[in-house]
Amino acid sequence: MILRDILRVLNANHIYIDDQTILDRDFICVSVTDLMSDALAMVCSAGEHTFLLTGLVNAQSIRTAEMLDINTIIYVRDKVPQQDDLNVGIELKMNLFTTSLSMYEASGLLYESGLKTATR
């Protein structure tokens, strides 16, 4: 499912887009967690086709994504990183989005849309 369609399903807005072509990239997996070690434990083989869905809005969500070669994060409940944290995302060429949905609602919609969990 391409990111543009995922964002439509979640009614998500962009916070920062480093690369506009990301909108047409196909995504297969999603890592859904607020615990960064849980994200780090679930390594989908294709980081560029995985995004992180989280309510954790500080720089560590961005650093965790970086370690996993993930460059797309969607925050739930309208959360937006503070400027210092956002600067980390900009420096690391992340693509950041936010949805008003809860983690539960967003996860349900993504599951229905066919997204897979990031595998061990």
């Binding site: 500080n58 720089a59 560590q60 370690m67 996993l68 070669d69």
Partner: protein, 136 residues
């Protein structure tokens, strides 16, 4: 042989992950295979965070020749029960660490899982975590 060393300070949450980020860039420039690079980045980041959260501070050393070896050496207070610390879900992380998304109790478990060799020794004088990765 190449050697890189970085000092890590206790409770330095603002800079948490910066060293791992720098190391990842170096490994990328050295053309380390992407799947190995990702495993090394995960291990380094988890261990760096552990050092910030749990230790009095220490040093990360990376040595690269035909293999890559990480040495995470801190100055205490040591891990009371390593067997317990290796158990998935067990955590002694404080509130500040949890606010940052850590304290899942998966740190050492993740590190061991992604490393080709894993060795940990700990006393009240400090902990030494040694990790090795095959680069081929």
């Amino acid at each position: 042989m190449m050697k890189y060393s970085y000092v890590i300070n206790k409770d330095d949450y603002i800079n948490a992950g910066k060293v791992s980020s720098q190391i990842k860039k170096i490994l990328k420039e050295l053309n380390v295979r992407p799947d190995i690079l990702r495993r090394m980045a995960i291990a380094c980041y988890e261990a760096e965070i552990n050092m910030i959260i749990h230790s009095f501070g220490g040093e990360i050393t990376l040595v690269i020749d035909n293999k890559a070896e990480f040495i995470f050496k801190d100055i205490g207070p040591g891990i009371k029960d390593i067997t317990l610390a290796m158990k998935p879900g067990y955590s002694t992380a404080n509130e500040r660490a949890r606010e940052l998304g850590f304290g899942a109790g998966m740190g050492l478990v993740n590190i061991k899982k992604v490393s080709d060799e894993f060795n940990i020794e700990s006393s009240t004088k400090g902990t030494i975590l040694t990790l090795r990765f095959d680069l081929l």
